[in-house]
Amino acid sequence: MKNIKMMALIGILGIGTISGQIARVDQEVYGMDCAPCAYGLERGLKKMDGLQEVRVSLNDGKAYLGLAEKNDLTLRSIQEEVKKNGFSAKKAEVVLMGNATKEDGQWYIETDNERFAVSQDTSIELVQKLAVGRTTLSGTVQDEDDDNLSDQWEIILSKIE
């Protein structure tokens, strides 16, 4: 529901005025077992420019992040903050705005700072809805090795606006 609201808000604000960026991240965090762990992660995330809303759940093992309307945050910087706190960043559910491109039959969604390759596990119906150009979508970004994070990700799409 939150994702839908976020996407609606993005639509109302006018996509044309916003560059490619992440709008929302529900980041899965492994290894976080105690209140000071959650406190430390929450505090670290709140120090990052571009985050409007931060909520950490021990029981879900997730950090729920709402990003500012205009931000330069990357998924990589968020996952690096998780690692800095001694935990492991896993999958992330994201809402992002970006440019859809197609190279050699492979679809990509590009924000200003990162590139998300559309996974082959995405349903055919959704892939068929993709069109080159600006798009707003949500999906699950696959886990990458915490020690070798880059600006390249793989995403399984769940909704295209």
């Binding site: 077992d33 959650a38 406190y39 021990l58 029981n59 001694g86 935990f87």
Partner: protein, 285 residues
Amino acid sequence: MICRISLNIRYVKLILLLAISGSVMAQGHGPLYGLQTPTLAKGGVDLNVAGMSLGTETETSYMLRYLFSYGITEDLQVNLTTPTLIERLGETPRTRGNSNMPANGDIEASLWYRFFSNAFGVGKRFESTAIVGVSTPTDNVRGQVNVGNAIHAAISTGYASRTWYAWIGGGYQYYFERDDERLGDLPYASAVVGYRPNIFLGDYPKPDWRIFIESLAEFPGVNKIDGQLDLSDTRSTKVLVGPSFLGLYGAWGISFGAMVPVVQDLTPGWVKERYRIAVNLSYWL
């Protein structure tokens, strides 16, 4: 009646010691006595103050201990701990006491390196940490033996989850000679099991409580007195067991617990322990 009043005075004394200690902190978010594995976040700061008491057959000691910890990286942490001894023991049992806060009068600097960590589920992880430290005493004589500087090394490994915790570890402390005398070395081992009941599984930022059963085995070695090894002194064995409780709320933590000896196979003439109690308050900056 006299005994009860005496106990009450001791209790009040410990509380007062904590009350006057100003800003507060604890010894991490693990056990109170046993070796543990968690290290701070990169750039994280943990401030602690502990009130400790150790009772022997004839005396009782009271001590405040301060601990400052800083996370150089998420796997490397530096610590500095200093004591304020309120009442020293004349006959001091050989002990190290807590995992990162010695129960004696040493000032200690240590480095914790979490060399293995595997977070494999929500709230779950295996990890192992190595500890090396150096210390210098604030007292000249301990148990009638000149006390010098010391080095300490330990290793621990453990499992943490939202419900169960377990750590095992072992360490070794070696005292250097001072004025031709030397305290015996101190190998030790610890084992801890922790549990958080469902009632305390509330999500952050609700308070977070857990209980530990801790055990500690210490094997103090022979002393060297006036340049001679004390041949009458052989390695002793002490095993202590007890519960501890840890409560966490946001950046704050409090832990308290007690240990009682279940085995005391000591060199003749060495003083026997009756109990150890400790309270820690923590603040994570």
